[in-house]
């Protein structure tokens, strides 16, 4: 228990007849970046709300920062929770919004002003601090919401789709900051639809129909889905190369006149391939996490 920020065992929750979470189990190691991926309605948000004690569970066990979820309020001061609602006051300035959240968490005095400046600087909104939050663009609003969530330096950060409406450049900045927080030991649980974001996480959990369908590092998920790296290779004599590789035990196909495609089990096989043939050119195509999830979804539907 001590090594995990969140422990879920067989968690179940339904709203009326609708079963949103069914027998969900997962472990989120302290200091990790854990990504919940899944289609709309797969139960990601419900699970986050369960973690913060906003839902009464129908069954299962859930521990948050060492506390059973019934007592999660005792660790609220260590949790940063960013909902899909932006949870800001449009009729307050940026500064006032941040001051308000700081006060809720008892962040006061110089620490408060320093922290506000630091966070506003990081989300690139410092020059707007006296503007009304309601006048911000969607992406700016999102950034302010994130800054407010971080005001009390939480140990566990729960981010429900934090990068919606944020442009790619800033999204990258978000992730750099998340990594920085991560390096300081902050545990981050994030939900997203975006595969490139999921790729940045140490652990990705694929949820569907309220259940955990696959969990692991992005590489592991791809393997579970049966997706492997693909080596594309061009040789002077493709047919000879194909037969050599075939006898060497490789899964090889000749595409068109000259292109060979080899499905690799792992990257270490590249060396073996190069011992057998001398290519004119080659290219490694990594399977995407998106492909993996599509394949997993297809397999489960079938």
């Amino acid at each position: 228990m001590g090594d995990y920020a969140v422990v879920a065992k067989g968690v179940a929750k339904s709203f009326g007849k609708l079963k949103v979470l069914t027998d969900l189990s997962l472990l989120i190691p302290k200091g990790s970046t854990y990504c919940l991926l899944g289609p709309n309605g797969s139960g990601k948000t419900t699970f986050i709300r369960a973690i913060v004690g906003l839902l009464r569970l129908d069954g299962g066990e859930l521990y948050v920062l060492g506390q059973p979820v019934a007592k999660v309020s005792e660790v609220y001061s260590r949790i940063g929770y960013m909902t899909q609602h932006k949870a800001l006051y449009p009729d307050l300035t940026l500064q006032e919004n941040m001051e308000f959240y700081a006060a809720l968490y008892g962040v006061e005095g110089k620490k408060r002003s320093d922290k506000i400046s630091e966070l506003l600087g990081w989300v690139d909104l410092d020059e707007h601090r006296n503007r009304l939050a309601g006048n911000l663009s969607g992406g700016m609003y999102q950034r302010l919401s994130l800054a407010c969530t971080l005001i009390h330096e939480p140990d566990l950060l729960l981010l429900d789709e934090p990068t919606v409406g944020v442009d790619p450049k800033l999204r990258q900045a978000f992730w750099e900051y998340f990594n920085l927080l991560n390096a300081k030991g902050v545990t981050i649980l994030i939900t997203t639809h975006l595969m490139d974001e999921a790729e940045q996480c140490k652990v990705v959990a694929y949820m569907r129909g309220g259940k955990m369908r696959a969990e692991g590092s992005p590489e592991e998920i791809k393997r579970i889905a049966g997706l492997r790296p693909l080596l594309k290779l061009w040789a002077k004599d493709p047919e000879l190369a194909a037969s050599r590789l075939g006898t060497g035990g490789f899964d090889v196909r000749l595409i068109g006149e000259r292109e060979l495609q080899i499905n690799l089990d792992d990257h270490s096989q590249i060396k073996d391939v190069l011992e057998l043939v001398k290519p004119i050119d080659l290219r490694l195509v990594e399977p995407s996490l998106g492909d993996a999830f599509l394949k997993l979804a297809e397999a489960q539907d079938a």
Partner: protein, 369 residues
């Protein structure tokens, strides 16, 4: 849960005030609309009237009032033969009232369904007695009735009034204090309900739930913030009724003010409570007929509780304005002290507040699920 933290309450209160402060229209609503409404009510209650059909019956009194009334241009005077004739015509709606000149007595018959006019007639009759010149050109009932009905008949005939249609109406002065409570209640309720609703729709409520702040602190913070708002309103409305419309302030103005503030506080928690049943601001508006209107009708703002049918009256006793109306009337008109209004009025308001306050805090807890 964490212990009760004053700083967090202050943070919420400060935020509420900052938000209200920035909302220009709401500031207008807080300060000017009550004034506007009070002025409207004030003139509706005390406005000058003309073209009033008044019957005169000479029954051998030869009192000087009769000739005074003859000189008032607001009346269409109709001379009648007998009191019963006059009564019949009032019942038929042909007359608004009649003055019967008896030896040693002026008997005034009044149409109880139009209290403003009834009061105007009374005011003239009284004015005719004292020769008070200010009444000659149109009467402001709000202030005139005060010295009229609580009359000081040192000399001249006795003035007796009789309402046709059942019950005796209270003077219009009594509406003033009640309207102050009503206005403050109305605006505070609506604003508090919408503010609370927004917490939920903006998602800020959910963030509160996951912060060290507990519901008690949050609702308390709201109360403090909105009390300031009710403070401004109470002050403006009270000043308007007293100074513009001459509603008497016999008791301690500070206690009257605090009583109004108390009704504002009750309205705040009630707004917070009812916001749990609304999903949109439009739905908050739908509470007006549900929450406000019964209080307009059933709490004795316009007519006494005694005139409300007995089977409905238990509802009146469940409505907070019933108690504030009574308390304010006692304070302003009868010069009651705080001890006089403590029970049942202040106690009832206090209990009402505590009950709704507790219900609201519990409600927030459950509503999130």
């Amino acid at each position: 849960m964490n212990q009760f933290n004053i700083r967090r309450i202050y943070a919420v209160a400060l935020r509420v005030v900052r938000q209200l402060k920035r909302d220009r229209r709401t500031i207008g609503l807080i300060t000017f609309l009550p004034i506007f409404l009070m002025v409207l009510f004030g003139y509706a209650l005390s406005g000058e009237m003309s073209g009033i059909n008044l019957g005169l019956v000479e029954s051998g009194g030869h009192n000087s009032q009769m000739s005074y009334l003859e000189g008032v241009k607001d009346f269409n005077l109709i001379h009648l033969g007998s009191e019963s004739d006059a009564e019949k015509q009032i019942l038929d709606g042909k007359l608004k009232g009649a003055v019967i000149d008896l030896p040693g007595e002026i008997r005034v018959l009044l149409d109880a369904s139009t209290p403003q006019i009834a009061n105007a007639i009374m005011a003239y009759v009284n004015a005719g007695m004292g020769g008070d010149e200010q009444h000659k050109s149109g009467v402001r009932v709000g202030s005139a009735v005060d010295d009229g009905l609580a009359k000081k008949t040192t000399k001249g005939p006795r003035i007796a009034q009789r309402y046709i249609y059942g019950y005796d109406l209270q003077t219009m002065d009594s509406v003033g204090p009640a309207v102050v409570g009503l206005v403050v209640f109305f605006f505070t309720f609506i604003l508090a309900a919408i503010s609370f609703l927004r917490e939920r729709t903006q998602g800020t409520l959910e963030k509160f739930m996951v912060s060290p702040m507990n519901n008690l602190e949050m609702v308390s913070g709201y109360l403090v913030g909105f009390s300031l708002f009710a403070f401004v309103q109470s002050a403006t409305t009270l000043l308007v009724v007293v100074f513009l419309f001459g509603v008497p302030m016999q008791g301690n103005p500070l206690i009257a003010f605090l009583t109004i503030l108390l009704i504002g506080v009750v309205a705040t928690v009630l707004g917070a409570f009812f916001s749990n049943f609304a999903k949109t601001e439009f739905q908050v508006v739908q509470f007006i007929p549900l929450v406000i209107l019964p209080q307009v009708v059933l709490t004795g703002v316009w007519w006494p509780l005694e005139s409300i049918p007995e089977f409905i009256r238990p509802i009146s006793y469940l409505l907070p304005l019933t108690y504030s109306n009574d308390a304010l009337r006692m304070l302003m008109l009868k010069g009651a002290s705080i001890v006089d209004i403590l029970y049942p009025d202040l106690v009832a308001l206090g209990l009402f507040f505590l009950l709704v306050f507790a219900a609201t805090i519990n409600m927030i807890k459950r509503k999130v699920d």
